[in-house]
């Protein structure tokens, strides 16, 4: 079992290497995409810093907490899209019938296919996340380690979510727009303090659009240096990824019985 995990890790590294090499072929575009992402992130951070200059406290959160939230979200999304960029493409792959080519390989489809592509601009997000965390929050080693662990946990949350909404393609034929909207919702809500919302929306943020596992729990964990809360955050990620894998495999069975009429001659 462990040997298998090790094997897939090696495969992941190879994909990472070649994906990176592909992007380097178009160095200028790669760098400009990274820069674009960083610029985008800057707009938001500037907004928040100005906002907090004017309104120092909001629901017990200050600039530090908001910056931390942004850093974790950006880095988490960055890692997710760097490593498993193809997860975000799942709906498109299903709609185009591109799954077949991947099925011909002697590998479990899900872990293999998500590794297939790396999103270039995601690099910018990752760098940005870590940079602003270090620059604005000045963490000590303990906090930094916990932060890093949480970014990985958040990454898995996003990967799981991407797989889950992408899998809708198995049942809807073309779920590209829907998947995009849902992804946008998760990313956006992840960058606003969950404390802003109450009632049904709050509930939503712990379930269907699990942004609270990005925008609330990890920040509290870091604030209190609480491994318990961190574990809760991690639990959410694991649960989501597990559900996503189940849904995907169920959908794949559907696909294999050919109820998706994507026949090519």
């Amino acid at each position: 079992m462990l040997a298998k995990v090790w094997n897939y890790l090696g495969l992941a590294l190879t994909y990472l290497r070649f994906n990176f090499k592909t992007h380097l072929e178009y160095r200028a575009a790669f760098i400009s995409q990274i820069l674009a992402m960083i610029l985008n992130d800057c707009v938001w951070v500037l907004f928040w810093t100005q906002f907090f200059e004017r309104f120092p406290v909001m629901h017990g959160w200050g600039a530090t907490e908001v910056i931390t939230m942004w850093a974790i979200a950006a880095a988490g999304i960055g890692i997710a899209d760097t490593l498993c960029g193809n997860a975000a493409q799942l709906a498109a792959l299903i709609a185009r019938g591109d799954l077949d080519a991947w099925l011909l390989y002697p590998r479990r489809l899900l872990p293999h296919i998500v590794l297939g592509k790396m999103n270039a601009s995601a690099f910018g997000d990752t760098l940005f996340g870590y940079a602003i965390y270090i620059a604005f929050v000045h963490p000590d080693l303990q906090h930094f380690l916990l932060f890093s662990a949480l970014t990985v946990s958040v990454a898995f949350l996003f990967i799981g979510f991407n797989i889950l909404v992408g899998s809708l393609g198995f049942f809807l034929g073309n779920a590209q727009s829907l998947a995009e909207h849902l992804r946008f919702a998760l990313v956006t809500f992840s960058t606003y303090p969950a404390g802003l919302f109450d009632g049904p929306i709050r509930f939503l943020l712990y379930t269907l659009i699990p942004a609270a596992f990005v925008s609330y729990l990890p920040i509290e964990a870091l604030k209190e240096m609480s491994l318990g809360v961190a574990a809760l955050s991690l639990a959410g990620s694991i649960a989501l990824t597990a559900v996503a894998a189940l849904v995907f495999n169920y959908g794949l069975k559907h696909y294999e019985s050919g109820n998706l009429l994507i026949m090519k001659g």
Partner: protein, 265 residues
């Protein structure tokens, strides 16, 4: 007079072809619904916390309608820089020189056509969401008039800025970097998310003098707080900036044209 007819034709063709993008409406609705909802919560909490009725001279409903306007203005912006960049690189610009239309004017009218349609669609979507969230904007009859007057010049000014960046294609490899910087500057310094009065005191003067304020903040404010004196001031600012940009664009454009004749395009 004949020339004007030609340009008008260009504008209306562009407008018609963009009506085909009805599919975009759905996407915009989702995007705007999420953003506006989140910001409504953010401002609600902030107003409550600060215990005031007005912030930056705006009440809560006005704040949200302000956002409706800034988002509609920003999101309606067509890809002027990219189009100019393409035209330069593919040689289409050189081809245009043969026709009895001035290229900048051609681009201007085509942009206006496209932008008008996009603005109406985006504003329609955003306004309907705002209606649900905070009700109608106060005094909205009055707004339509004053605000409508300030919009055309705002669009023209915005066009000139991006057109200038696009002309950079004559000299640099990739204009997407400068374009992104310019657009992010417009967002931040134009007060897309945070109305200018909420910025620090010392920035107020400079911010209001920059062209970005005349494109985004000015017209948006004119919608929520119609004021004849301010309207006149805004129009004046827009006029001055258009004149400045027009001079610069003409100069740069002529230098660029000389490059074409020298290098053959």
């Amino acid at each position: 007079m004949n020339n004007l007819k030609k340009y008008w034709a260009v504008a209306s063709i562009s407008a018609k072809s963009n009506l085909a993008y009805v599919g975009e409406v759905g996407s915009r609705l989702v995007f705007l619904a999420i953003i506006l909802y989140i910001f409504m919560r953010l401002w609600k909490v902030t107003y409550e916390h600060s215990g005031v009725q007005q912030l930056g001279g705006l009440t809560l409903p006005e704040m949200l309608w302000y956002l409706v306007l800034t988002e509609s203005i920003i999101m309606s912006g067509p890809r002027v820089t990219q189009l100019v960049d393409e035209d330069v690189r593919t040689g289409a610009l050189a081809v245009q020189l043969v026709r009895p239309l001035s290229y900048p004017l051609y681009r201007l009218f085509s942009t206006m056509g496209e932008r008008s349609v996009r603005f109406v669609i985006t504003f329609g979507a955003a306004a309907s969401i705002a209606l649900v969230l905070v009700g109608p904007a106060p005094n909205w009859h009055w707004h339509s008039l004053l605000f409508a007057i300030t919009l055309p010049l705002a669009f023209i000014l915005d066009f000139l800025g991006y057109f200038l960046v696009g002309l950079g294609a004559f000299w640099i490899e990739d204009t997407s970097g400068p374009m992104l910087i310019y657009s992010r500057l417009t967002m931040i310094l134009g007060g897309m998310l945070l109305p200018l009065p909420l910025f620090p005191e010392w920035l107020q003067g400079p911010l209001h003098m920059l062209p970005f304020a005349s494109v985004v903040y000015g017209p948006a404010r004119m919608f929520v707080h119609p004021n004849q004196a301010e309207c006149v001031q805004l129009l004046l600012n827009q006029f001055i900036w258009i004149a400045v940009f027009a001079v610069v664009v003409t100069a740069v454009y002529n230098i660029a044209l000389r490059r074409i004749s020298a290098n053959g395009g």
